[in-house]
Symmetry: C2
Subunit: 418 residues, 2 copies
């Protein structure tokens, strides 16, 4: 079963809004045996919308439309759907009651344009909206399915999870093939090195597909297996994953949508370890990522952003002579920062980072992109040096990712050189 | 002049990667007199890519393709371009030298697949890649333009800014109408309140267009003016902006792609003020945003992420009795955190935040989403309370944005209630 996603809205075309809806829908459909073969964005104009409806309806089993269902003048999706299916709008009593209840609970006065949101194309079943006023539509015709939801991400997502995906799961239950997919996440190793290490891919994959997805944060490897049934697909996928892990396991920090900060958080929690972090160049980015996850207060005790040398000396007890002799961006100061934050916090681990992210501040000996990371636990205190590029923001992200990876390797006893 | 954007990659279809490239390209083209009328994503397969090339080439003046130019087996865009233009691949010496230089400067061994990246379709001009190994392509044929870049966002963006946009600007110089657009950024005011304050929109706009774009970070207002020439368009746009600012100026913190953290940084720099920040619930997110901008070390002195109560007492000198009496999430502790960070840092301003972002930790008196922000300068120490929702990450972003806005208002002498 395949699908086309159509997102409607000028704001997407001119880049004012990033199209997260297409990613969320694509992920949900793919995870439920629907192959998304195309995703389109068109503006708020009738002719191009009609054209995309016709093309998608012709080439796909499922057409998933989002956006343009709101109450204002530039929302024309419902009108175009009515025209496309040659149908009419009928007031839906359940939807009307939902809208009335919503306005009452918010203590707001309902106006005519709100009431008109209860009009639903006669061929459609309404998808109720628990987080807004515009209903979605579910249309079945000629063995195909046409779905429309509002473009507001959390309204779309709620309809997707509570109504659309459960329906699709019923439809795909008896498919005659099953696709299973897994993404292995690496960092700290270049794409070409990884590719080279894996050797003969045909022998490794036996007909499965492997895609390399590089970014400044690392290289993802996505394995896709299609077999006659779920069992066969999943067991073949597991076999391939084991072979890849046997070769490149130490570079793989997680799978799927895992975040390295979350992975590291789990390692700390499992081992009952606490951590405190001293950041200079990353300005709080590492701690920010660590605390993105609920329960992080169980292992993250505190952080210090020692941007100035005074902060390094006063809070972290870095030696002024070491600053003078080696400079703030050095092996020695990174080590002292890690030792200092561990000592004042009473945690099991101290992690630190200091560097020059740019655009200014570089020198011949320490060009922009030079970063030192320090790590201390009860038995060792060490620091490493890394060299990144010239873009401040990308350097910040890469430096934070490298620090989290150094932490991961240190906890797992993997050498930082590997 | 119009354009179609085609992004290639299974990872976009299955939602593994969010399509930021389409937004960046859409924004750059729109800002340079090219109307993006469609944006498409297709997977790494020849037939659908060829189909989209043909359809886009037929309907558009410019076809902008991104993705699938990397060195591995699943990168097929170059092959499909060669087929589409019925041409062949030729080794480009300049590109080959770029790749060699790159590997040398990174001290890495070059392998055959890297060398092959210097092969360029004969009809194309190579766009050199200063940030990676795959070149882009610029093809002119039949009065139309076909552009291809790698999908890695910073490689694409660098080619866009340094090569592609300057070329497009030359082409659109003599268009017979000119569209000018400006986006005014607000935060801390709901869309409906802003809409109501602006009053009669027809009188305000005189035929121009105004779109409201709400998000958890604030409401953007996009004004679009089309006139016969650049002067007329820009002067009308300026007039409308002035009228909007006269009504709602104090809510507007910036324009276009301004970041509130950058805006606040400029205010601090202009006034020669220094700041230190004590964060609890936001875990470093505010300091992280402040330090995203070069030169921030001139005004940002240090930050403390006082996640534990011990850190609040030991580093920030928060009174243990105040913690016991009011709790860590309170007006009083927010004020003491701001006073403490200012005092230990010797800065002009101390900013603080403490709250419950969820999913756990809420109570009836202080539900998830409760946040207090503190501010101290040489003359006042104050704190405010805000209530957000249930999503931890959105709460973090909203809380940081609100703290930066409180800081902005405090510096500018705008009451926090406005």
């Amino acid at each position: 079963m395949n699908a086309t996603i159509i997102c409607i809205g000028d704001e997407l075309l001119i880049g004012q809004t990033i199209n997260t809806n297409a990613a969320v829908i694509g992920e949900a459909l793919s995870a439920n045996q629907v192959k998304v073969h195309k995703s389109v964005v068109v503006g708020d104009e009738e002719a191009p919308i009609l054209e995309e409806f016709a093309s998608a309806w012709n080439s796909s089993n499922i057409v998933f439309v989002t956006g343009g269902l709101g109450p204002t003048h530039d929302d024309i999706t419902r009108t175009v759907i009515t025209k496309f299916f040659n149908t009419e709008l009928i007031e839906n009593e359940i939807v009307l009651q939902d809208i009335k209840d919503r306005f009452q609970s918010l203590n707001r006065v309902m106006v005519k344009i709100n009431e008109e949101q209860a009009l639903v194309p006669a061929v459609a079943e309404a998808i109720r909206n628990s987080r807004g006023t515009a209903p979605g539509f579910w249309i079945e015709k000629d063995g195909k399915i046409f779905i429309a939801t509002p473009g507001v991400p959390f309204e779309m997502r709620t309809m997707l999870e509570s109504f659309i995906i459960p329906r699709i799961q019923k439809l795909t239950e008896f498919n005659d093939s099953y696709t299973s997919q897994k993404t292995l996440l690496t960092t700290g190793i270049p794409e070409s090195t990884l590719f080279f290490k894996l050797g003969n891919l045909d022998a490794l994959l036996e007909g499965a597909k492997l895609a390399f997805l590089p970014s400044p944060m690392g290289v993802k490897m996505r394995v896709t297996v299609t077999e006659a049934n779920r069992n066969d697909a999943e067991s073949k996928l597991t076999g391939i994953e084991q072979k890849i892990r046997a070769i490149a396991g130490k570079y793989i920090y997680g799978t799927g949508t895992d975040d390295l900060a979350q992975v590291v958080g789990k390692l700390l929690a499992e081992r009952n370890l606490t951590i405190a972090i001293a950041e200079s160049c990353t300005g709080g980015h590492i701690s920010d990522r660590i605390t993105d996850f609920g329960g992080s207060s169980n292992y993250f005790e505190r952080g210090v952003i020692s941007y100035s040398n005074a902060a390094k000396v006063e809070i972290l007890k870095v030696d002024e002579d070491a600053l003078a002799e080696h400079g703030a961006v050095s092996y020695e100061v990174a080590r002292q920062m890690a030792a200092g934050i561990k000592s004042i916090s009473g945690t099991d681990i101290g992690l630190s980072i200091t560097g020059i992210l740019g655009p200014g501040g570089g020198s011949e000996a320490k060009p922009v992109g030079t970063v030192f990371i320090g790590f201390c636990d009860s038995s060792v205190c060490s620091s490493i040096k890394l060299q990144f590029g010239n873009d401040r923001i990308i350097n910040k992200e890469r430096a934070a990712q490298a620090a989290l990876n150094y932490l991961r390797k240190s906890i797992l006893g993997i050498s930082p050189d590997e």
